[in-house]
Symmetry: C2
Subunit: 656 residues, 2 copies
């Protein structure tokens, strides 16, 4: 009754031009999410990040002021959507800096062929078999299923299969529709292990006639920020379509911790589960549209994601991931029907989730290790995937150790005044003229700048450091003869672009608080690498290969990342980029049961080193809160270069 009596109000969002009718008192961020208006909300609606600011053009909201909204912004009519209740009809403008762009710019480097798993046979876990059966007679009227299994045994020596219940249910009709000529699909559902000599086989589908030429599957990387998918042709071993989109969970929080917290609200887990499934369905739709493949011909789905993303997708509460001692629900999940999770595929499609190792070392890392073949090679390799968490593996074909360190959201634009994910208009390159301290910036898509993405941040800090605009402890040198360095709200700052040059009509700056956040992020990753190598008794300089995975890793300038002390100071030719390692592993595993077996072995083989309350890690972390590091012996080439630059600059000044 109460609901029916609630006053109905109209909210119009621009520039999307979306109109919705809502009840009086509803939360404006929730209204936007429900209406499909994509608003950034890194903190999940707690009011602490300030990324969901919107302009109330007409009407009024009832709002709570937080420190994230300045007096000036408030007077302009800006409000934090998450803190606002709808109390009148509204016209709401979502400014460019609060929007999630529809298209994520994908700028993947080519995978280095030297960094792929080798030695596997092309033999997908999902196979199709065509069989012609003798029609039943009064003398031979065994059950339809017995006839089918007998035929498969005679023709292909297939036996001991489990048959999916749905196959039995439609068997009679399909056999007769196909005039006793049918194609069955089988799936390997459990890997070969020491204890179990044979792989488990499940008969997942039956189709009339010979459909072997239509044989597809999906590989998906479920990232905290983005979901990437590939449609695979299992006959040809090829990617025939790929697509990427933001994970719809972003509006509920930028990082896994915020999302785990959201899951604890009533209905929260279900909302987040539905959000990522909606994203997956959108990606699948686009893959199908690109390739003109019939959705019925999709037979399998392999996903790789971090432990939290995997659990939420499967509808398993991730609560204990964030509570000490940080236990995931399971590392190996049983296969589950994708449709039962809401994924828009046929009833025959099972979803296989890559096994994880620990709460913060997930299936995405196991997938990357499998895809990049780290576990197959003798060389001592560091595998590193930098995102909100830095996930690190060290090892070779004999052993592997892994750790995860919380880098915070800085590399994805979080906690940075003008931070942005890598999207059109984000500053990704930076140079500085050492004589007049004027910047040269490059943006994604060559658009007018609207913010700074992670790789831009590294470039900027390294450039400012080399030009001595900032000091090794991250403070601005306030005496320089330039208007670019000035006092701002958060201490000193450097102006990267003046308001008229930008999309947002405001000066884009980098502040001392930003630099501090970056130092903590890069420090955590470096200290993680250092602690992990120390714990296995080697040093970073022993590394023969460093594999950088992840979309962010792809756009990193290695020299500059070393300059700020994010990556270890070893020769550049030892670094290899593999792009989305998680997706890579999911794809290759879709092509080979050998790799499916290996995935299980790899997950079991990895030793997880818990860093969260590790004393050595804390020491290493504190020592790394410097540019590049408090101990310059760790970064000999950087030390040399910085002192050389200093000499040059001194010389140049003398000659001016």
């Amino acid at each position: 009754m109460a609901k029916d009596l609630a006053k109905k109000l109209r909210v119009r969002f621009s520039p999307d031009n979306v109109d919705v009718i809502v009840d009086e008192g509803e939360n404006l961020l929730q209204v936007a999410i429900a209406a499909g208006v994509r608003i950034n909300a890194s903190c999940g609606g707690k009011g602490t990040c300030g990324t969901c600011k919107v302009l109330i053009e007409k009407g009024q909201v009832e709002t709570k002021r937080t420190p994230r909204l300045s007096e000036e912004e408030h007077e302009q009519g800006l409000r934090q959507a998450c803190q606002s209740k709808v109390i009148t009809d509204l016209s709401v403008y979502v400014p460019v800096e609060s929007r999630l762009e529809q298209a994520v710019v994908s700028r993947e480097r080519k995978e280095a062929p030297g960094a792929l798993a080798t030695g596997w046979r092309f033999s997908p876990p999902l196979k199709k078999f065509f069989v012609e059966l003798p029609p039943p007679t009064l003398e031979d009227n065994v059950s339809d299923l017995s006839r089918l299994l007998r035929g498969l045994k005679q023709r292909y020596q297939l036996s001991s299969m489990t048959v999916d219940f749905d196959v039995v249910a439609k068997l009679g009709r399909v056999l007769r529709d196909g005039n006793w000529r049918v194609t069955v699909t089988t799936l390997v559902t459990a890997a070969k292990t020491k204890a179990r000599e044979r792989r488990r086989l499940l008969l997942t589908n039956i189709e009339p006639g010979d459909t072997r030429d239509k044989h597809y599957s999906l590989a998906l990387d479920i990232g905290t920020t983005t979901v990437s998918g590939q449609l695979l042709d299992l006959n040809r071993g090829k990617v025939i379509a790929q697509d990427i989109d933001y994970n719809g969970q972003i509006s509920y929080g930028a990082d896994v911790i915020t999302r785990i917290a959201y899951c604890q609200k009533p209905g929260g887990l279900r909302k987040l589960q539905q959000a990522v499934v909606a994203t997956i369905n959108g990606v699948i739709e686009k893959l199908l549209a690109q390739s003109q493949v019939n959705p019925k011909q999709i037979g399998h789905l392999i996903v790789a994601g971090n432990t939290t993303m995997t659990q939420i997708l499967l509808g398993v509460d991730p609560k204990y991931i964030r509570l000490a001692p940080y236990t995931p629900a399971a590392n190996f999940f049983p296969p589950v029907k994708a449709k039962s999770l809401g994924v828009n595929v046929g009833q025959q499609v099972y979803l296989f989730a890559f096994p994880s190792v620990a709460s913060y070392v997930g299936g995405d890392i196991v997938s990357g290790i499998v895809g990049s073949g780290v576990y197959q090679r003798k060389e001592l390799t560091l595998y590193i995937d930098i995102g909100t968490n830095g996930e690190i593996v060290i090892g070779n074909s004999d052993w592997m150790a892994t750790a995860s360190c919380s880098a915070g959201p800085a590399f994805e634009g979080g906690g940075i005044k003008h931070g942005l994910v890598a999207t059109a208009g984000a500053i990704e390159r930076f140079d500085i003229n050492p004589s007049n301290f004027e910047p040269v910036i490059g943006t994604i898509g060559r658009q007018k700048p609207k913010g700074i993405c992670g790789s831009g941040l590294i470039s900027i800090i390294a450039g400012l450091l080399e030009a001595r605009v900032i000091t090794p402890n991250g403070k601005f040198n306030a005496d320089l003869p330039t208007k670019r360095v000035r006092q701002g709200d958060d201490g000193h700052e450097y102006v990267l672009a003046w308001a008229p040059e930008t999309q947002i009509g405001k000066d884009i700056v980098i502040t001392e608080v930003d630099i501090d956040n970056l130092m903590r992020a890069k420090g955590a990753v470096y200290a993680g690498c250092q602690t992990l190598t120390q714990s296995v008794g080697v040093s970073l300089s022993d590394l023969e290969r460093v594999i950088i995975a992840g979309a962010f890793g792809n756009s990193i300038d290695v020299e500059r990342a070393i300059t700020i002390g994010l990556l270890p100071d070893i020769p550049e030719d030892r670094f290899i980029f593999i792009g989305n390692g998680s997706l890579l592993g999911a794809r290759l595993t879709s092509f080979s049961i050998d790799l499916l077996d290996d995935a299980r072995r790899v997950a079991n083989m990895m030793t997880n080193i818990e860093l969260s309350e590790n004393v050595t890690f804390m020491d290493n972390y504190v020592a790394s809160l410097f540019l590049p590091h408090t101990n310059l012996d760790e970064f000999p080439s950087v030390a040399k270069r910085l002192s050389g630059l200093a000499d040059n600059q001194s010389k140049r000044r003398l000659t001016v």
Copy 2:
């Protein structure tokens, strides 16, 4: 729109006092079924059986007259519900002979201890294990699932289990709610076979604390006519509650053929599936109420039913069962979550359906053979379950052959003018005074008679034959000095009870058409037994044991069944009654994995002999259409007795 515009009409059913609002033009039988008014409809609503006659007390229906409605009945206001459309508001009276009684009278004989499976260990397929786990620490923070599996391995040497997805989903919460003391439930999902040395184990449930003392399962026999259930205590190996009800599918047709036909209508399969599930849910509810067991503590469900009942319950179209060459969809169905079928039990409960042998030799027979241990003994045994179909097995521990013959519905009251299922008021016993041909009748529940059930029919025909009221070819001797034998609508008939003595206010008679139908029914069963024994090279007189299964079998008088030629003429002490063999096997198998293994073996071991187009069977059948048989050598004791009786009667007449 059309639907909304349909005129709404009120239909009141008495004596149930049920009121419903329906659309103009709806079918009256469907309206009754939907309203829960239990009307008999043997033919499934085709108009051919005449069992659904109702009295239209007020209002009008639009009806099609069929030969099943006499002129007199029509004038009285009786209509066949299945042939009538509602066109005005109605008051409808359902006469007693058209009603399905709520309670089925269960008069099971005690199972003969000599006819039970032996040599099995008490070791239920469903087991509970209590385990105390060390809580996680930072040094030991493996996943919750790994911790659980490790604990089960250490404490109970359990390994290589598959874990149900739903268990993984709730694992984290249950482990912590139970303070790391939990009880898990495991289920053997696949039997040990030659090819597979180990039974497959599935972890189906986890509960906080030690719940081992609450450990229950359900055994169900899904009969075409009735559903019988038992609630089992798996700790004590005991039946703690039992119940029986009519299969709700009866209103859609009395026999499997009619129901298979109904499944071919749009939505038909789903309706029948829901009807039997509703019956099962009612039975479960009563079992729980009787025993005060908490429904959450039910862990498993074993059902046995004929092939059609099994397929419909599982939602698998039984279409090809009735089309030559009569193939079932499968003999072995994968375990399925009972809840997914609509059964009102917890998400953890899997349903195991007894495997079948052929389209007309189902899981009920396999279950009976397992339960009665026929496959374990050296003695040559005939196992016979008489219902709408006569299902027959012959064999011993070395071999078994099986066949099924369509007896038609006569034994369940179908096709008999005053036929009834075994319910209160049904005539079940009959004697006749040979001097004046007056009957002595006994009814179930000692109520006034309202019809004749199967065992009554056998008694009546045998009695009439012995008294020479009918001749061996089933015709009345019209010259007898009694008003009881008279000319009726269907030829001659014998009046069993005069109208004032009955519940229905009409003379209850047995007609020549009834006798004909009975002869065909008993002839089919006997010819089936004869053909099956001949086909394996033995004769009926070689039989060392005859096991009679089924509720109907239970109430048979063996001597009289031999007299009419239904059962073979061998000494009475070789006959053993086991009551509901199907339920017996389901129960014993719930108690022992040994019998679960055996069920698979038994189903594979049986050779099915198809009788439907078998020439020998047809010859045997034609020869058996006589009382007791055209070849009196088959029934030596009957021949002797009948001639003896004849002598006595002649003598008695002489002395009168």
